[in-house]
Symmetry: C2
DNA sequence: TTATCTGCAAAATTTTTGCATCGAT
DNA sequence: ATCGATGCAAAAATTTTGCAGATAA
């Protein structure tokens, strides 16, 4: 799904909800999807301000909440209160899971459909209708520059 | 593992780290494990103050962080920034996963050893040494008093 | 005794809100 | 024209920190 398509889908959802499709929202959402990675509010605001300097904090917060409500992003925090809240682009139940390095904070995303199905089955057994799932695996990675990289 | 055992294990870990075993810490930790459920800082402080009214916020925060560092608790937030950070008692790799009702916030904990193994295997494939894992399944539950309970 | 811990209050952070103005429909 | 959206600044909420006095080793 291209950025253009995603933007259009977003605009459409806005209208369906009786909300307005404004330049500001378009700009923020477009920037968010172009970056196409985990961002915190500051990073996104900074990027948006490169294009329109007068953009306010509140608008970015409000637009991100909107993205979450409409299912275009997930709000996450990997770690305790001191770690920043980040926003993860996601389109339509395009579930993906995370592997997080506790040392260098490097994050790998991966998909695993059988696992998704398994989770659904578990939820069903417990009388739940599954809407969303998050799986976060924390460990030590093997990247060159990881400070606690296992020796070869 | 009894509360008494857990308390002792905690005290021992403290000493190993060159930290002091104080009444305050004992009290807070004991209260935390007696409650034996997800609590936020306020709830815990309230409970601790029933036993010793002069207890300060900062000490509870600091002790909870200690519990997390020593592996006796996990710091979690189920939902966006508006949801409270909660602390979940956990002893020694006693992994458990969560099913969260999006309507009534009811939380079911469950264990699933095969799933844990599977996660370990996934991490290994990606060159990670797994240290911790969280699986959160969000959906709608079927409790009597759940506001969005499916009709029978 | 000495280093750590505690409680308080202040500070730092993060997120939300009120309100006047602006912009989309 | 109307009603929602935006930007600013202030407020609220959450978490951390500095410091003086208290406590454990």
């Amino acid at each position: 799904m291209s950025i253009q398509d995603t933007l259009e889908a977003f605009q459409q959802r806005l209208v369906e909800r009786g909300l307005k499709s404004t330049r500001q929202r378009g700009l923020i959402v477009e920037t968010f999807f172009e970056l196409d990675r985990h961002v915190n509010v500051d990073e996104l605001l900074l990027e948006v301000r490169k294009r329109r300097a007068s953009t306010g904090y509140a608008t970015v917060y409000r637009t991100l909440k909107l993205l979450v409500d409409l299912g275009f992003a997930n709000e996450r925090r990997f770690g305790g209160p001191e770690t920043p809240t980040i926003y993860d682009p996601s389109f339509e139940r395009d579930e993906h899971f995370h592997l997080i390095c506790l040392e260098c904070q490097h994050i790998i995303e991966f998909r695993d459909v059988p696992l998704e199905k398994r989770h659904e089955a578990i939820a069903r057994e417990q009388g739940f209708t599954l809407q969303q799932q998050t799986l976060d695996l924390y460990g030590h990675c093997t990247r060159e520059n990881c400070p606690r990289r296992p020796q070869a």
